[in-house]
């Protein structure tokens, strides 16, 4: 097996940090690494029972970037020295984030075939670091959903069980990373769209502090809640990726002015002695699956053994967070999505009969271009912002938001980091909650408070639920601008858990390449 160290199969199993080290040591080439992932995508992503994590791939461009990195490294000298640590490590990008050279659909028919004339700031930063972009990942339409079933391009499947959802909205990014199609991915998190998919796919997902990563070029759902963040298999990889994409951007007025802390160093601290970790009373127990609760308690024990002080905190206003979220988010979304009208770009549908007025063209375009969940939220938001209802709905929701922020402030006086399960359940079956929006919304009950308050959150794998053998996510929350604490605690907990499991949790996931359906697919 030793000579297989650089085989395609072993390359895709490596973390981004491991790949970066091998690339620097000259043990592998960026082209080999990129090609291995493109091959993996070709192997497991397509077909009737494929993962369907990717909406588009651009192998040619990714390989060209990889070849450029290899050439620079081969030439040596100052240019090779100046290469970013992650240069040549490939990445997948959620299809909500705009890219030159690849389509951006937001998972919607209304943007089918649209090519952005500009790169998102985070994409510019990936390019500057010379990280090959493998492709764009699937999502619930305009990031609205918790299962990726609301994609106009078909659902993504959970690599742990292809009949189950990979979470959402960023199911594509999480599944791509979980299925070893990419070592790294970008997601966006408005109410849990990075963390909840991370939880149900056994991967790591981080929603940075609001303003820590530029939103320029992320198609807005709810501007005051949206945040781009890393999707990876290890905590260190998330820190590395956060360090690439984070930091001030003059094109985003809500971007924080100060430089990023050294997140990678935080992930390497390896010590949580004396740190106070607060259990949020309201975010576990009733309504949480037993297996989720068990894995959560197990993590608490490990943290305690590692020297952390476990305290309990109460955030009484979190019970109103979901309600407030489902007013603020649709209100902002109804406004942000007004621009999709068929006038300047994207789909344009002409009314089948009657006068050809601009209002009717806009109406026909939006009727045909948006899916049901998007329409549901536009209608909710339009209603909530209407004259006469604004104070009762949007106004009250903003007050709740302030109360949630105060709950966090009080909790962070008692604890340095807060902890909860990331999602109340493990991955549910495809179709199970599709007709019950409220049940779907409840999936985000533990992740939403962080978005309302702008604080950072990290989800990491906490093991498999006893009853179904599916991954459980553990969520860590820190005060705004203290993202470093998440990486410090997360990395420690990760190493304790992996020691317990005897390796990464994903090593226990089924071997997709051996799936009979895929063999049949290949035979075609």
């Amino acid at each position: 097996m030793t000579e297989q160290n650089t085989s395609a199969e072993s390359l895709i199993r490596l973390s981004a940090a491991q790949l970066a080290e091998k690339l620097r040591a000259g043990e592998v080439t960026a082209v080999d690494v990129t090609r291995a992932h493109l091959d993996r995508i070709a192997q497991v992503d397509g077909g009737e029972r494929g993962v369907n994590a990717f909406l588009h791939t651009n192998g040619e461009e990714a390989l060209a970037v990889a070849a450029e990195v290899d050439a620079i490294r081969a030439a040596g000298g100052a240019d090779a020295e100046a290469l970013h640590y992650l240069a040549g490590v490939p990445i997948a990008v959620k299809d909500l984030i705009v890219t030159i050279g690849q389509p951006t659909t937001a998972g919607s028919k209304i943007l089918e075939g649209w090519h952005s004339p500009y790169d998102a700031t985070v994409v510019e930063r990936l390019r500057a670091a010379k990280m090959p972009i493998l492709g764009k990942t699937n999502l619930d339409e305009f990031a609205m959903g918790s299962s990726t079933e609301h994609s106009a391009y078909g659902p993504t499947r959970n690599p742990w069980d292809l009949d189950r959802i990979p979470g959402g909205s960023g199911g594509g990014s999480a599944a791509a990373v979980a299925a070893f199609e990419a070592p790294l991915a970008l997601g966006t998190d408005t109410g849990g769209s990075i963390r909840q998919p991370g939880a149900v796919t056994g991967t790591v997902g981080v929603k940075p502090t609001y303003g820590s990563v530029s939103r320029y070029g992320a198609i807005a759902m709810a501007s005051s809640l949206d945040q781009i963040g890393p999707v990876t298999r290890t905590v260190l990889d998330s820190a590395l990726l956060h360090q690439v994409i984070g930091g001030h951007d003059p094109r985003d007025s809500t971007s924080l002015p100060e430089p990023l802390a050294d997140l990678v160093a935080a992930a390497k601290t390896g010590n949580i002695e004396g740190l106070r970790i607060g259990i949020i009373k309201e975010l576990h127990g009733e309504g949480y699956q037993a297996g989720v609760e068990n894995r959560f308690n197990e993590s608490l024990e490990l943290l305690k053994e590692a020297g952390a002080e476990i305290v309990e905190v109460s955030c009484p206003n979190f019970q109103y967070a979901l309600g407030a979220y489902y007013l603020i988010m649709p209100s902002e979304a109804s406004s942000n999505l007004a621009k999709f009208d068929g006038v300047r770009y994207g789909l344009r549908v002409l009314p089948e009969e009657g006068p050809m007025t601009i209002e009717r063209v806009m109406g026909a375009t939006r009727a045909a271009g948006f899916g049901d969940e998007v329409k549901r939220r536009i209608i909710l938001g339009t209603y909530a912002l209407s004259a006469g209802y604004y104070d009762a709905y949007y106004g009250s929701a903003q007050k709740v938001r302030t109360l949630v922020q105060r709950d966090f402030e009080a909790a962070f006086e008692k604890a340095d980091v807060l902890i909860s399960p990331t999602a109340p359940t493990t991955a549910f079956r495809l179709g199970e909650k599709l007709d019950d929006p409220l049940a779907m919304y409840l999936n985000d009950v533990a992740t939403i408070p962080a978005n309302l308050a702008g604080v950072p959150g990290l989800s990491l794998p906490g093991g498999l639920a006893d009853e179904d053998g599916l991954p459980v996510g553990i969520q860590l929350l820190a005060p705004a601008r203290e993202d470093a604490r998440l990486y410090r605690v997360g990395a420690v907990l990760e190493s304790l858990l992996e020691a317990k499991w005897g390796g990464p949790l994903l090593a226990q996931a089924p071997d997709l390449a051996a799936a009979p359906a895929l063999e049949a697919q290949e035979a075609k």
Binding site: V98, Y118, R215, A218, S253, V343, R344, I358
Partner: protein, 502 residues
């Protein structure tokens, strides 16, 4: 076009008391747009001064233009407003293709400037105080051109073209409180108010302030109430009245129209009205009720604009002298009569005369040139006098030539035409055209002899003491010398020749 009946203005005034209100939009002349780095330039090829932000592409975010905030604060200060320490933008939401995001980013309940006033000087010198409710920042929309119809309006058009160059241009909207008590001077006040706002923003240097380009646009609200009643009547809002004259006419027309409606016992409809310059009438636009729902909410992509008191005071210190005070000072300095000064102001050549005097001309010479020569030419060319491109130095040079007797006034006027035609400097033109006052008496005496010989009866009259008849002979000499003779000298020589003393 309009089928509305109207009352005579006098009759309307007898019966009703007008209440006015104005929303004046001022386009700022910042280098870039309100929320993007695209250039803010008028008149370029359509859709060239746009970037992804102006087009409302997916994923874009706005960033507030700091210069636009400075300009807005300056306008607020010049209007004697309070400046908000912190204020936010909101989204005003409506679907229309000239608005790329289908919402306009505009200040709503938190304007940057509020509670001000402006003292308006009417033509007879009366001062009328107009209270300012607020001045807030917003972005302009794109420009729609409706094609295929006869009227250029959307009704009957086959399709519409949209130019987003103007989309995102920074605007300041200045809103007055209801203006009561203007009575029959309402139309005059309307014009004077808009003129004053235009003058202020021009003087501040924050806007090009050219109404014909839409840099300053006025929406005029008019309502009537019977004399003695406190409660306001129902108002109409006449949109985009874009010249000073039109503001006066539109207010007058709406007063007359409202009066006729009220006289007929019908209620006035609350609506927007379109102004038609050709017929000087308005027609019904869109019914507008207070229930128009723009679903305003705070713009989540922007952080509040914070104007520290230090910054506001710094800006206040940079404000130029207010136009009204400046006028008072200039009138005293120049020694013009009330009438002379008012004519100068109305002709719009105050700045030009000031510059000409600064370049070395006397106040009277500067006035004579601008009012006597240049204003007329500008009118003929249908441009502002300042736009003709006459340099103050040119006027000083021409005046000097006349004073030194090198050329006479008539020649100077011809030289000015040459300068405007681009033929060169006054000196070059004088030389090129061979213009010079003929001061050698020899040729003049020949011409005088010829003129006297041609009109012996006139010569006889002069000899007989009717000196006033000399004009005919002088005229003959001037004609013969193609105007190059010094008329004064010709007169002297004729009298000398005929042995008459004047």
């Amino acid at each position: 076009m309009s089928t509305d009946t109207i009352l005579s203005f006098e009759e309307a005034m007898e019966k009703y008391d007008p209440v006015l209100g104005f929303e004046v939009h001022v386009e700022l002349n910042t280098k870039t747009k309100m929320f993007s780095s695209a250039p803010n330039v008028f008149g370029d090829e359509p859709n060239t001064n746009v970037n992804e932000v102006d087009l409302g592409m997916p994923g874009v975010l706005p960033v507030v233009n700091r210069t636009a905030i400075e300009s807005s604060i300056k306008i607020g200060l010049a209007l004697n407003c309070k400046i908000a320490e912190s204020c936010r933008f909101a989204r005003k939401q409506y679907f229309y293709p000239d608005t790329p995001k289908n919402f306009q980013t505009s200040q709503y309940d938190e304007p940057i400037a509020y509670d001000g006033y402006l003292d308006i000087e009417l033509e007879d010198g009366t001062v009328f105080r107009v209270e300012i409710e607020r001045a807030h920042m917003e972005e302009d929309a794109g420009k729609l051109t409706h094609m295929g119809g006869a009227t250029g309006r959307i009704q009957g058009a086959d399709f519409s073209l949209v130019d987003y160059n103007r989309a995102g241009v920074p605007l300041v909207e200045i809103v007055t409180k209801p203006i009561e008590g203007a009575g029959s001077r309402a139309p005059e006040l309307a014009k004077a108010y808009v003129a004053a706002v235009r003058e202020i923003v021009k003087n501040l240097g924050v806007s090009d302030a050219r109404m014909e380009r839409g840099n300053v646009r006025c929406d005029a609200n008019v309502s009537l109430r019977p004399h003695g009643r406190e409660r306001f009547g129902i108002r109409s809002e006449t949109k985009n009245v874009n010249s000073l004259r039109a503001v006066e006419h539109a207010v007058r027309y709406e007063i007359q129209r409202h009066a006729a409606v009220l006289d007929s016992g019908e209620p006035v409809i609350q609506e927007t009205r379109h102004w038609h310059e050709d017929t000087r009438t308005t027609t019904s636009g869109r019914a507008k009720s207070d229930a128009d729902d723009y679903r305003y909410f705070p713009e989540p992509d922007l952080v509040p604009v914070v104007a520290s008191r230090e910054w506001v005071e710094e800006l206040r210190a940079t404000l130029p002298e207010p136009p009204a005070e400046r006028r008072k000072r200039l009138k005293a300095d120049w020694g013009y009569s009330d009438l002379e000064f008012r004519d100068v102001v109305n002709a719009g050549v105050l700045d030009e005369i000031e510059e000409t005097i600064a370049a070395g001309a006397s106040a009277s010479v500067a006035r004579k040139w601008w009012m006597g020569e240049i204003v007329g030419r500008a009118k003929a060319a249908d441009v502002d006098p300042g736009q003709l491109g006459v340099q103050p130095a040119t006027i000083v040079e021409l005046a000097k030539m006349v004073e030194d007797g090198k050329i006479n006034n008539k020649m100077a006027s011809q030289v000015l035409d040459g300068v405007l035609a681009g033929e060169g400097t006054p000196e070059e033109i004088v030389e090129e055209r061979g213009l010079a006052v003929v001061s050698d008496d020899g040729p003049l005496l020949e011409a005088i002899d010829a003129a006297l010989a041609a009109q012996p009866d006139v010569a006889e009259k002069i000899r007989g003491g009717k000196v006033q008849a000399i004009g005919a002979i002088v005229g003959g000499v001037m004609k013969a010398t193609r105007g190059q003779a010094d008329a004064g000298r010709v007169r002297e020589l004729i009298l000398e020749k005929l042995g008459v003393t004047a």
